[in-house]
Structure formats: structure tokens, C-alpha cells
Symmetry: C2
Subunit: 497 residues, 2 copies
């Protein structure tokens, strides 16, 4: 997406604002067209939520944000854009005339994606200028966190446009799903709709309340669906006998009266009132913003949990995190370092799950931040992933930590590192953990590392290139005063009991 | 469930074996009736999987397992049981006669739960002895991990039986959902079935493959459904305007052709072949056991992720973990300690996500285990959660770690602690991290802790009761030789570069 710098967004509602947040946090400039006089406040709230969630989703330090501008003219949003995403109300009579105006104002090669969850691209693209660059890119709420985007072209959309759009969405950290055929509701919404229609029947017939139906999902099949769909789940449920056995065993139940989906419930006032009142009970007085933050926190944790297994949405997150880290690493590498100043290679932010019952950062998280700081130093001198592949690494053999000040949630942290000593096998370093904003020294960690041949499992001299990078820094740092607290042992000062 | 010691399981297939594993790991004795000559091997494999997953799900040390016996006689499984759970094939002509035999053999007050996913309890209980103690307790695969169990009584089931059964399932770490009405497929399976029928149409009509449909779910709505059902998700999607607005906005689309559920696809040979072949492609040659382990790992991580937010399945897990910890804590408290021997209060097992790119335990995880060891010592001397509530705590101010041997995945670990010194404000301790099986010393951690008034944020003397527990141990430990490596500072031994 190197050629895309500015994104034109048509509509700044829940979905449009989600796109704005995702684009801004990926460094793109955004022009949003929205007529709502409160657009600026609403966009600002969604972007703040997104910044909060994205700050947690990867340990990579955030890159620079893009700029945001709000306009009331479709042509203003579309004219200078390198990619256009439309998220207007779900009515052809609104979307089509505005899409025509946008297409007329846009450069002919600029892709126009529509966020519609159900309208057909062939109907939306008919009559716009250069219809071959129009397609549906259907996202899910919250757009700044949910990976899925369904890519569906119309009769006139070219394959090249679909591929370019998919590459753009992927670069934003999303997971494009390419549709083979144009169909009402695409795929995910058809699945959601089937489940939703059954849910409405259950409420209408007083079989269960909204909350009970939600519980049946989230304590049960919904847990599995966060990483495996029905087909794979059922395959596994078939046990050793596999999918054919499962289908044969459970096939007959397709004929059982297990859904009422042969019919659609009438959304009359009585049913509407019942649903609204049950939904109010379920929400229990929490505000929408509270629920949004809880939803985002859960989404982040679920995806981070899956990332450890490199599966499903976890893989999307992991790959995206790698890209972010590479960007940050390139920035760090290219930054000129004064060899006589401490290294400043790692920043972090205290996540809510790092906080213990005392309200402070858990002990082990200190060492996590220091360990990441050590990794940054090692990458800096060339002892990186590539070096590990060749069977060499530095192992920490000894650590001394001092806790000097409490660290609370959301504190931005900076690790500063002084090399205290180095020879061909040893590396003696001292990290200072500093509150990035106030400069307060929060904790320190002194480490002794040993260079090892990982296959042989014993110490060996580091590669010449690594030592060549390390030595000038070690020499520069030798001129710095030794940090307070270095070389300390733990001892009881007073008389013992 | 204090009155339940032995569980009789009718059927030892995928679901029955899952019940066996959940019961055994919760310390209950299990008698399984199954005619499969391979029952023992199959049960053993599921129990091994369950032990592996449950070992990861809580940091609480596992309690003693129950005993397992396999029988070919229904009466043998039912006769001595304090609770009976039936997981036989989903056919009334199989279930009803065997349930009759089991009910005749069982004591009259013993509850009989059926795992049926669709048969009606009123039909299953008619004609059994003491039908009022029969109900459906419908679990989800894998039974040893999935929290949901749908509790549904028949016409003759008493409310007291439903409550007792729900309490039993909850004590096993599950989340009972009490059904208001008897209905085919209960709730969760109706939702699953609706989604499944739509999925079968999509495959039949070549709109998407099994893998694409699964992807549409797991990268999209499935992620949200792991913690919020449709009702709450849609409420939030409605933004500030809430549920009525959402329903009014999206209500009309209920009339759009977004599912084909007015009809059911014929599961003919052509469709069956297509599904089986697409499922094979998707599974990509991995074995069912591999898939089961990946599924379990993902489930554990998702639930652990949610546990940090105390929401959905995370709350179930958190509450269950608390109970497990209390049990372990009671065991530790009641264990007689020789005051002149090191404390052995904490064990742990190395989880796969604790392993770094070198294949060894990540640095910060050492401090996590040591920190948990410190917490165990503090609980042991009465500086526990209750004590924190009164505004007092011990904070770690200094830590010295030595890494002596690599620690690999799945290694069982034991922390041994020697008190090196203590006064009314200070506690100086030394942990040895030992491989539980070989006794090898893997790492050590020396800590200085300070007793603090958490509201004032400054050091203060510990409570008399705490010191009274601490002093005899400190005096006993003062007679032990100082551990090797205590009081050490970090220093470069050789000449510097």
C-alpha cells in the first residue's frame, strides 16, 4: 500500500469512524465526509477507543499517526484520495447517487470500496464512472480490531482491483476473505442472520431471554468459533472416524425440528418491546462506551491468546505485529546513536493485565520489560533472529532488580541501557526503567549474559561482526559514571530477628 | 457436591470420556460402562489430553485425581454411583431401555443426567424408576474444557433436582444454563443448527468452501461470540442510540433474502462427498489428536485471556481457579512443617507459551514462578488477601536471580524457600527452583521484601500475628547453612574489552 497515503471515507458513523481509526493508526491521512454536526466528537471518541485498544494489541511501539480532516462535501473527500471507502446508510437510494459523485471526483484508478453488509456490488457500481474499480469490502464492528473483511466484486469489477483492495486491507492488519460469487449478505452475515433469526424466535416464544441466549453462545459454541468454524469443530467431534462419520451420525437430525427457520418472526411492537427490555436488563446500566471498552479488551486478549498458538485471528495479529516490529526496528537502526550516551531502544506501556492485587505492576512484568530491552540491545548489535538461526545466542545467567517506585496501569515506559562491561563471551549490562513522561527512575536491572553455541549448549566467543558493533558502544559507555545501584548484593541492613 | 464421591457414566465415547476426564481431574471416582473393546485406550487418550489442558488452565497445583474403572454392565456403573451421567448414542430406542436398567439399579435419590443434545427429557424419563430425579445436562465438546452445560428438566423433574444437578456441574468448573422450557435441541444446538443449515446451503450452492465458511466465522463474528452473544453485540453496534435504534435500523433486512433457511438441503451423496472432500482439504493431513490439542490450547488461551477481564467464560475460569487455589492453600496450611527445613509451598509446570525462541523458559517466567512462590510464603505466614484488604502488604524491593540450567516445556517445578533474615519490617528470602522429578537446581532467586502500609505508601511494622508465624521459621532457618549464591553481586570476572 506504498502508493496509498490518503484515504477518503464517505460516512463517519460507527463503521466509518472505525475505518478512520484503523487508517490513522496505520499512519494514513484520512478525509471523512459526514454531515452530522457531532461528527468530530463521535469520530474522536471512536479514535480514542481504537488508540487505547491498538496500544495493547502489539508490543511494537506505535508509529506516527496520520492526520484527520472532516468535510461536508463528497467531492472534497474523494478528490484527493488514493483509496475510497464508503460506509453510508444501507439504502441504495442514498448510496448510489453519492457513489456516483465520489467516482466522478476521484482519479479513475482509485479503488472505491463499499462497507455494505448486504447490498450487491453489481447494483451499486452500475452507472458510476469507471465501475471496474468498485467492489465491496465488508468489515465488522469494531473495524479497528476485527480482522475479517469480505471482498466481493460486482459484474464489472476486475480481478486486479480485487487483489489491490485485498492487499490494502491486509496492510491495515485485516484478513481479507475473497468471495467467489456475489450473494445477498455475503457469507458471515448470512451465518449471523441464520443464528439471529433463530434467536428472535426463542425470545418471541419465551423459550429464553436475550441474556440466556447470549450465555448459551458465549459459554458454549461461541468459544470454539473464535478460532475454528463449524466444519472443523464437527470434524474433530467425529473423533477418530472423521467427517464422513460425523455427517452420517448427525445427518438425520437435519430433519428434526431443531430450528424454526422455515419461517421468519414478525418484528411487531410486542416483540420489539420485549427485545429492547431484555437487552436493557442484560446491559445492566453500563454505558455503551463501557461496553465498547470491555468488548475491545476481550477481543484483544482473545486474539493475543490465539497468537501464542499461531492460529486463526492469532496468526493475523502475529504477522501484523511482526511488520510493526520491523518498522520500529528499522527506525531504531537508522537512528544515529551517540556511542557515549545510554542506549534507548525499548519502550512499553503497562497493560491492565500486568497489574497485581496491590494495583501495581506485577514483579514478573518488570523482568518482561527488561528482557525485551535486552532483546532490543542484542538486535542492535546484530545478535538477532537471523543470528539465532545460525546457532548462536546470548543467554542471561544472572539478574539483579531494584524496585524503586510503584508502576501503575497505562504508564508509558522507556528502557535506557548502559553497557558495564563486555568481552568476547560476556556482556554485562544495566537497564534503567524510566517513566517516559516524568523521567522518574522506576526500577533498574543489572544482567550478566553469556554468549553460547546453542547446539553445543556451552559458552563460545561471539561473531566478529557482533563484537565489532558492541565494542565501540562498550568503550563509549565505559566513560559514563557507573550507575547508582550497580554491583550491589542483597543484604539485611539491621540486626536480624 | 460434598456428598458425591463416585460418578457412574453410561457410555464412554467422545462425550462420556470427556465427562470421565472432568470428574477424575476434580478428584471424583468414576465407573464407566462401555462395550467398546477399545474403551480403555480411547478413554486413556481423552484423559491424557484433558490432564494436559487442565494443567494449563489454572496455576493452582492439581489436586489428587479420582480412580477410573471400566465395566460392561449398566448396573455395575449405576449401582454404587452418587451421580449418574448418560452419554449413549442419540437414539431413544437405545437410551430408554438402558436408562430404565440404570434407574432400577441406582439408589432412588441419585440424580440421572442425560448428555443428549436433542432428545426431550419428558420422553426419556417416562417409565424409569423415580423419574423426578432425571434431567438433561447437555455438555459441549470437549467436556473437560467447555463451561456450558444446559440443564433441562422434563415434566416430572423436580426443581430441587435441577438445582442439585446445577450445583454438581458448577463444582466441576462448568457454567449451568437453566432452561425455562423443554424444547427440541435446547438453546445452543438450535443456534448451532441454524448456522449449520445455512453453511450446508453455501457449500451445496458453491458460494463458498467449508474452509472459507469457517474463516468467515473465526476471523469475524466468532471472535466476538466467544465473550458476547448477538444481542449484546448488536446493542453495542447500535452505538449511542441503543437497542431500539439497532432493531429499527436492521429490522427491515429480516425480510431480505439473507438466508436460505426457509428450506433444508438434501444431504445426498453428492453433497456428502463435497463436504467430506472440502473438510479433508481443510484439515491438511493433521491428525485428529493434533487438532484436538490445538483446539484445547486455543480454548485455554481464550478463556485465560477473558479471565483477565473477569467476563464470560473468563469469570467461570477465574472462580474455578480460586476454588482450586483455596484447596491447595488449605492443604499447604494443614501440612505440618518442620521449622528447620526449607518451605516447599509452590509447584508449577512450564506452559508452552512460557518458551522463548531458544526453546527455553522466558526470563520473565522465572520471576513469575518465584513471585508466586513468594506469594505462597506470604500466605503461609498470614499476609494473605484478607491482610491486603486491611491495607498491609509486603512489597519486593530487590531481586537477584541466577539461571543455572535450561528449563524446557512441561517441566514440573518445585520452589523451595529459605528465610535468610527477618525483622518487623523486612523479609529476606532465598528461593531455589528445582526440577520436581530430578531434583536438579535450575535457578535461584534472592529477594528483599519490605512490609508496607499500602494506603500511606511507606514501610511499617508487620502485624503481630504475622511476625508470630514468621519468627519460628526464621529462627529454624537461621540454623541451615546459607545457600550457595546468596549475597552475591554481579561482576565481570575477567578483564574488560
Amino acid at each position: 500500500m506504498n502508493d496509498i497515503k490518503t484515504v477518503g471515507l464517505l460516512g463517519g458513523g460507527v463503521i466509518g469512524a472505525g475505518w478512520a481509526a484503523r487508517c490513522l493508526l496505520n499512519g494514513l491521512d484520512v478525509v471523512v465526509c459526514d454531515l452530522d454536526p457531532e461528527a468530530e466528537r463521535k469520530l474522536g471518541e471512536v479514535i480514542a477507543n481504537a488508540g487505547r485498544a491498538m496500544g495493547k494489541i502489539s508490543m511494537a511501539p506505535p508509529g506516527p499517526r496520520g492526520s484527520l480532516r472532516i468535510t461536508r462535501e463528497i467531492e472534497d473527500a474523494a478528490g484527493g484520495a488514493d483509496f475510497i471507502q464508503e460506509s453510508l446508510p444501507e439504502r441504495e437510494d442514498i448510496k448510489i447517487p453519492l457513489l456516483k459523485r465520489a467516482a466522478k471526483a476521484a482519479r479513475p484508478e482509485v479503488i472505491i470500496g463499499s462497507s455494505t453488509s448486504g447490498l450487491l456490488p453489481s447494483r451499486l457500481q452500475a452507472g458510476i464512472a469507471h465501475p471496474e474499480r468498485f467492489l465491496v469490502g465488508h468489515p465488522f464492528n469494531p473495524v479497528y480490531l476485527m480482522p475479517l473483511v469480505e471482498v466481493c466484486g460486482g459484474d464489472m469489477t476486475t480481478a486486479e482491483v480485487k487483489d489491490r483492495a485485498a492487499a490494502f486491507y491486509a496492510a491495515l492488519g485485516m484478513r481479507p476473505l475473497m468471495l467467489r460469487k456475489e450473494i445477498d449478505g455475503f457469507i458471515a452475515d448470512r451465518l449471523m442472520e441464520a443464528l439471529w433469526r433463530e434467536s428472535l424466535w426463542l425470545v418471541k416464544d419465551d423459550i429464553a431471554t436475550a441474556e440466556e441466549i447470549d450465555d448459551a453462545l458465549r459459554f458454549g459454541p461461541g468459544l470454539r468459533w473464535s478460532f475454528m468454524g463449524s466444519f472443523l469443530t464437527y470434524r474433530i467431534a467425529g473423533g477418530e472416524a472423521g467427517m464422513r462419520h460425523f455427517m452420517e451420525q448427525f445427518g438425520p437430525s437435519l430433519k428434526w425440528p431443531w430450528t424454526k427457520l422455515m419461517d421468519v418472526p414478525d418484528l411487531d411492537d410486542a416483540l420489539l418491546d420485549k427485545i429492547v427490555s431484555q437487552s436493557d436488563d442484560q446491559a445492566g446500566g453500563r454505558t455503551i462506551r463501557d461496553w465498547e471498552r470491555l468488548r475491545d479488551d476481550c477481543l484483544v486478549s482473545v486474539m493475543q491468546g490465539l497468537s501464542g498458538h499461531d492460529f486463526g485471528a492469532g496468526t493475523v495479529l502475529k504477522d501484523y505485529g511482526k511488520v510493526l516490529f520491523e518498522c520500529a526496528h528499522e527506525t531504531a537502526k537508522s537512528a544515529a546513536h551517540d556511542p557515549s550516551a545510554p542506549l534507548r531502544l525499548h519502550t512499553a506501556r503497562v497493560l491492565p493485565e500486568w497489574i497485581d492485587y496491590n494495583g501495581h505492576m506485577t514483579e514478573s512484568r518488570y523482568l518482561q520489560v527488561f528482557g525485551d530491552g535486552t532483546d532490543a540491545v542484542l538486535r542492535h548489535i546484530g545478535a538477532d533472529a537471523e543470528y539465532h538461526k545460525h546457532g548462536f545466542s546470548y543467554y542471561t545467567v544472572e539478574t539483579h532488580i531494584r524496585h524503586l517506585h510503584d508502576v501503575n496501569a497505562d504508564t508509558p515506559l522507556q528502557v535506557e541501557t548502559q553497557i558495564l562491561g563486555a568481552d568476547d563471551k560476556r556482556l554485562h549490562i544495566f537497564h534503567s526503567l524510566v517513566a517516559a513522561e516524568s523521567g522518574t527512575l522506576l526500577a533498574s536491572a543489572e544482567h550478566m549474559l553469556l554468549h553460547v553455541d546453542t547446539k553445543e549448549g556451552r559458552a563460545c566467543p561471539a561473531a566478529r561482526e557482533v563484537l565489532a558493533k558492541l565494542e565501540p558502544i562498550a568503550e563509549g559507555h565505559a566513560k559514563l559514571p557507573p550507575p547508582e545501584g550497580a554491583g550491589r548484593a542483597i543484604a539485611m541492613p539491621g540486626p536480624k530477628v
